[in-house]
Point group: C2
Chain length 140, copies 2
């Protein structure tokens, strides 16, 4: 299938966080994740126009420490749960390891730096996209 031809993903920025290792990161943001900085590359300053404190954003990251060859896992690492296909889990280990996070902008720290809460991604995680979250949308 032509549709399976590869694409090149160019990160737009990087996460700065007090979380330094995968073992330190909570599985989900609501499990006590801290504030973090989103440092966006200056080339994309125009794409942040009108972003303001209080905005809820969908943040997509590239989980760069993930193992892309894993197809099945015990969810949350609990071996009492049967092996499950990674497409039915939230495991970071998967063929295209993209993290989906909902965050709230707390302060604008610079022309292309946003402080957000709460984010379970570790320091140095590449950022690949930001979108406004929609209350009306079941996805949001």
């Amino acid at each position: 299938m032509d549709e399976l031809d590869p694409y090149v993903l160019r990160p737009i920025g990087v996460v700065r966080s007090t979380l330094r290792a995968r073992a330190d990161a909570p599985n989900q943001a609501f499990e006590g994740a801290p504030e973090a900085l989103l440092e966006i590359d200056a080339a994309f300053a125009d794409a942040l126009h009108r972003v303001q404190p209080g905005d809820e954003l969908i943040l997509l990251t590239w989980l760069h420490l993930a193992d892309r060859d894993v197809l099945q896992t015990h969810p949350t690492g609990n071996t009492n749960i049967p092996l499950t296909g990674v497409f039915r889990t939230r495991s970071p280990d998967r063929p295209n390891p993209i993290g989906v996070h909902r965050v709230t902008v707390t302060t604008i720290e610079g022309p292309t730096t946003l402080r957000v809460r709460a984010l379970e991604a570790i320091d140095g995680t590449p950022i690949i996209d930001l979108k406004i979250a929609m209350r009306e949308s079941p996805e949001a």
Copy 2:
């Protein structure tokens, strides 16, 4: 920054839909999007293990018709809304055009084919990831 080095994204499947052109697609799934088929490549069959009807999944797509050079837009194409950075919109036109969709599995049509509702992506859109949606998660 090393974190801005590119990554290679390999689609895992393709959307089959009655929506054939970008102009036909609703802006959001809740605006009358139809059912669609997710045809996953056979190489990833194991990653679908335990996916079943009723599952709510977060589907990530590569919006292959998008213009990756667009940094600002009038949201929903309405010129009465001021120009806004694409990172504060849901425009498909953006540096890394990844679509985030919440869908429900209605039937398993084959070993690697799922029927889902409701999906605003057009026929031929590459699929890049699937995850289970979490009720507990504010992102869901």
